[in-house]
Symmetry: C2
Subunit: 197 residues, 2 copies
């Protein structure tokens, strides 16, 4: 059974792409980031809610404020990456919903009135978008180093003091450097993942 | 700024791909599903934990058991789709972790001893994999109709009575049929999503 995207795209996005832990000094520009967003923004979310928000860490001060909340094993590579981004869920995404989902403008107040409901929906849908974003980085010819090893509460207090956002992942981005990754780890077999009813 | 995957792959995966609500009668075979998994299994998860589990709904009985837990607006299309799958997070993914993440086999008992920690990690990482899976369906030349409008507790009791899994999404899959979708909804502007520090 053949796929309809070509072998090169399969390779770039999935088969040969790897999580990078080291990068060259080549910068990642805002134009790169715009090209990534202009591709991945089309991928679907529930009711088109698009809760992902992204903080680009550009200043040395912001990088230091971030690195201190990373797990020890993630600090050096985050300090050195050409670009690091914080990917977060916006728990107040419903404010944009009447414009983004005009079929059901009441959803803002009917479905998403309670913060608890918004948090669950935002975290799930922003996680979908984290997946899309990682693949978008690869589609731009760059390597992603997504990380979940950090003090989430610390990052939230530092970067989202309004309490309206929750960090989901921090991603280093750049051209892969020397010894950027270890050998690929195994994957579950089809029969370990899929069952039929 | 150009992307490194070609325009056709960009179109198939993102730009022209759409969430489908109607499908032709053409079957979706297990070979299709295997080709999708053989591509998307390579995309990254935290500590390679791969918590996504997939139930293929093939029998009429299973379809009826599922449809009754779908939101009213999702019932008819789920009853009629060539293939419907339940995408769930496995809260006991840590059992496979020593084999899947041999760098740190103690993670099973040190990091993931508590169910609450496993549930949060599994739900986030399986959501990443839901995003990868949707794009994999498209990479196989099929259309996906992902849905989150259902009674999650009802589906969990019906299909995962062991209490070890939590449904995240139900996805209809097939070749798009007549009037498969409405006009595309808007997307947030770059400046509504990205900030710089």
């Amino acid at each position: 059974m053949s796929l309809v995207i070509d072998a090169l795209a399969q390779s770039i996005l999935f088969r040969d792409a790897r999580t990078a832990n080291a990068f060259t000094d080549e910068p990642v520009t805002d134009e790169h980031v715009r090209a990534i967003y202009d591709l991945v923004k089309f991928a679907p979310t529930s009711m088109n809610q698009q809760p992902l928000r992204v903080v680009l860490i550009r200043s040395q001060g912001a990088r230091e404020r971030l690195v201190r909340h990373m797990a020890e094993g993630n600090q050096a590579k985050t300090a050195a990456a050409p670009l690091t981004v914080i990917l977060a869920a916006d728990y107040e995404f419903h404010r944009e919903l009447p414009a983004q989902f005009p079929h059901f403008p009441q959803a803002k107040d009917v479905v998403f009135a309670e913060r608890e409901v918004r948090v669950e929906s935002a975290r799930f849908n922003a996680a979908l978008q984290v997946g899309y974003f990682i693949l978008g980085v690869r589609a731009a010819g760059l390597a992603a180093g997504p990380m979940t090893g950090f003090d989430a509460e610390g990052i939230n207090k530092e970067f989202f003091p309004d309490g309206e956002h929750g960090v989901l992942a921090v991603v280093n981005i750049g051209k892969p450097g020397e010894q950027a990754w270890l050998p690929r780890l195994p994957r579950l077999e089809y029969d370990e993942v899929f069952t039929t009813e």
